[in-house]
Subunit: 560 residues, 2 copies
């Protein structure tokens, strides 16, 4: 029998990637990456360090280049490959990355009038311009709709859908007015590929809506109009123009259009699965089961667990979201995460560039850091350079490094930054378990898990748990391809598809008992700092410090 | 009339320098620097980052090379110069930098048996190996001799004489046993040049003894034998072998020996003034008066003020010392300081070396930092990479940087480090004034005051006070030369010599009101962090954090 294939189309922060896999065993037949052309590696920046946008033309070009490229590559590389063997396609993206669209579902930034206006582009997941709006939404929900908050960790984030849209409405009224509706990138791409952008044809994935837009069937979908109207009457009107029809990733958004078939060389009409966030499809790519924590470690980290939706589940304070069906149908998907992990290491390497480009590379710093015993540097860092997503849900927190002497070396700082992210990871595991979500195994995936054994060993030593690593080096794209395989009929359901197509590497990182005991001490200090700077109940009462600095900074930037 | 000259012989952390000045106006006729040959720029380091020693051969060679060099240079450069025009010589050094000597007053490390033993070398001012001993001395004095502590800020430092000697006694008994006595570098050099090393001929400067060895005529000189015996009976025995005869810098230690005359080309017999610390002679070089704060800004900072000894003066908690005559006879010399200033900037440039050597130079970082408005980076740092000398008197504090994002740039950190030292400086000024020592003007000197206008402007903006800069680029050496001029008879007393020979530059750095108002806010945050991490009364109760890290670090190093 001829093999069949599925494609995962994966939208990262800096590139789009298409991965062609064999539906029988998940083996990767071909992959094609296209780096976004705009901005700084695809991210449009501004003087305000909180701003991070992407231009939708990069998304459209990315789909074309990556899909056409992977088909062409497979023709060359895979003996006997024919595009007709591709049975389906899944899509995963960053998020919450909402973009304004016109009445036909076309991205507003494609309109010449708005082509260079960052407010009309996609508001990238890590855009933190909307923190005032996030506070306002949190405050209002706390007052009149506490149940909205209970499902998203007790605080609505500046990274999320409604914060960004409210910000746009307030600060960029012309853009808001010209937009008919807003779509998450995870929904925009499947709609684009299947020609279902128009409001009457559109469906959306439960993953993005549930985790980022407070969508929940318990309360009839999106937050109610009365609630939204109290934020701004325009949001209540917008609600009626948002798509209410939700899908899980085992359902098709539609079939590939003839236009996209021509652009890519893929068969017209093959089903495209409903889109979901990279992390959630990464969990699928790792073969998630109840009791597994999947950590997708890249620029930021997402931590995903699932719990059967037939059992009662307490709301877990500080988690980004608890959404029925966001990973697999029949399970609550629980999402936690760290706002920056690889991005913190990248900051140190790219912005600080210690001792210049050669000595300050990730490879060189990792090698030197690996030689340092735990605790030896006397350093302690907080992993908050991009805020704290879980458990504090506070984007206005910032980085901290403590313990420097006159002899502190770059590799010591690099290691301290890795350790800080490991302490952040442990804080999340502890929070899951405190609220009854037992974590029996940890499976890691993403570039850092794949490439940096030092990070994995430190995570094992800090958490005292074995760290497994997904077999695929493109686990999110693999998860999208698994969804594609299911909608394409290659497997009856996601469970069967995961069993056939996912797996972990034989190399497992086991905790070193001596290192773990040092890290237990350091973690107590981390927790003390975490609570002092991040909570009002910590021993520190220093919760004001980082925020006061941001207030002073913003004023300085304004008056400069 | 032919001009007469005096020489200031200045021992820094990395070099020895001889400065030849005209006694009529302080004008510099010639200068010669000799970089120490041993260790890392003259500092002998070890695995323990607290250890910092110097080899006495560098001191002896330094005197010879710098003095002979300056005489030779003056012969070439100054028309009609004859060495006979040099009337006197003064000596300033780092401190507390004690070294063990044998029964003839010869440095123990010159003995072949001890030539490479760091314990037998000079224990450089910034050696912090003796923190446990410092705590022990502080605790004992607090219990049985509180008046000893009252004159040195309430805590005896690990940087000081007795802490280092007690450490040597405990950890290096062979060295301690082989030593007959201990001398401060400030006393060792004049004794060496004048052949008064032998115990019966020796005198010592009140500056080093008073500020670092708890010497005070109020209680009969050094701490009493009973007190010392409770620390260790060997210290009580040592007391009887320490020189009890003290001098101010307007008194001669002796005349230049024939041997040193031959080595240097200077006239035999010219008077050499009693030695003092660089900071105290720097204050003389700045023309200090009551109401003036002199800041000597180099690798670390000393802050010197004087108050007439005819008036009552409250003990000022946290000051390094209050010593009658340590700067000028007739005045209490008050010493405060920051354990690292230039050393923090040097750490960032030399150890972190952001973006490599070219972009990460002091010049390049200063230029970029100068373009940033106050508060714009959102960063806040503590200036404790080398501990805190004033007002916390705690060497076991470490550095802290807070507010980093994913876009924080090296120049922003560099500026935050400068600001941190400025906040530290303001903390000291405030402490002086809270205890009745009014500061009417601030005169800065030292390499950084001289070379980095950004630092001076930030100090003005942070403190809200004008920053004046000493006219001489070698103010400490000038101060030593002023002492040399007085012992050489060129002026009747230091007051007259200072009026004739010192002065400030015409360029004064005035505070910018807008910058000052931003810095007032940032200083409140600095103070909050200062108290949280540095005191038990701060809002933070985080006083344990830095120390726990050091404890963990030390254990990790031991077991590695």
């Amino acid at each position: 029998m001829n093999p069949t294939y599925a494609i995962g189309l994966d939208y990262g922060t800096n590139s789009a990637r298409a991965l062609l896999v064999n539906t029988a065993n998940g083996r990767e037949a071909a992959a094609m990456v296209w780096n976004y052309a705009r901005g700084d590696s695809g991210v449009i920046l501004a003087r305000d360090p909180n701003l991070a946008r992407q231009h939708p033309s990069d998304y459209i070009n990315g789909a074309e280049k990556a899909l056409r490229g992977v088909v062409a590559l497979a023709r060359k590389k895979v003996r006997g490959f024919r595009p007709e063997q591709v049975v389906g396609l899944g899509v995963d993206t960053t998020g919450s990355t909402p973009l304004p669209v016109d009445a036909q579902g076309r991205a507003l930034a494609l309109d010449r009038r708005f082509a260079s206006d960052p407010a009309a582009m996609a508001w990238l997941w890590k855009d933190h311009t909307s923190s005032a709006e996030a506070l306002e939404i949190t405050a209002l929900a706390g007052k009149i709709r506490p149940r909205y908050l209970a499902k998203c960790g007790g605080a609505y984030s500046s990274e999320w859908f409604w914060s960004k849209i409210l910000r746009c409405r307030r600060r960029h009224p012309a853009v808001f007015k010209a937009s008919h509706s807003w779509m998450e990138l995870a929904d925009y791409v499947p709609a684009l590929l299947t020609g279902t952008e128009a409001p009457d044809k559109r469906a959306i994935g439960i993953c993005a809506a549930g985790h980022k837009a407070m969508f929940n069937t318990e309360w009839g979908g999106y937050p109610d109009a009365e609630f939204l109207a109290q934020l701004d009457p325009a949001l209540a009107e917008l609600r009626s123009r948002l798509c209410p029809r939700v899908q899980t990733v085992d359902q098709p958004a539609g079939g590939l259009t003839v236009e996209w078939s021509k652009k890519t060389g893929l068969p017209a009409g093959i089903p495209v699965a409903a889109g979901a966030f990279d992390a959630h499809l990464g969990a699928v790519g790792c073969g998630i089961t109840p009791g597994t924590l999947v950590k997708i470690i890249g620029t930021s980290t997402c931590d995903i667990a699932i719990v059967s939706n037939t059992q009662p589940l307490a709301d877990v304070p500080g988690l980004c979201g608890i959404v029925n069906g966001s990973v697999l149908p029949g399970y609550f998907g629980l999402e936690a995460g760290q706002s920056a992990v690889g991005d913190i290491f990248n900051w140190f390497v790219n912005y600080i560039q210690p001792r210049g480009p050669r000595h300050g590379s990730h490879e060189s710093l990792s090698a030197a850091a690996a030689r340092l015993p735990p605790g030896e540097s006397g350093l302690l860092a907080l992993d908050w350079n991009n805020g704290n997503r879980t458990v504090l849900v506070d984007q206005r927190l910032t980085g901290l490094l403590l313990g420097q002497t006159l002899y502190t070396k770059p590799a010591e700082i690099y290691r301290a930054l890795i350790e800080a992210t490991a302490f952040g990871a442990l804080t999340i595991i502890n929070r899951f378990e405190q609220f009854g979500v037992e974590i029996k195994q940890v499976i890691n995936c993403g570039g850092i898990a794949e490439k940096n054994p030092l990070v994995m060993q430190i995570y094992a030593d800090v958490t005292g748990r074995a760290m497994k690593v997904s077999r695929s080096s493109q686990t999110c794209a693999l998860g999208a391809a698994i969804a594609g395989a299911v909608v394409g009929g290659a497997h009856p359901h996601l469970g069967a598809a995961m069993r056939a197509m996912s797996g972990v590497k034989t190399k497992v990182f086991s905790p070193n008992a001596r290192a773990h005991s040092v890290y237990q001490e350091l973690f107590r200090l981390y927790s003390q700092m975490h609570d002092a700077f991040g909570t009002s109940s910590g021993s520190g009462h220093l919760q004001n410090v980082m925020k006061d600095l941001i207030r002073i900074r913003n004023r300085a930037r304004k008056s400069a």
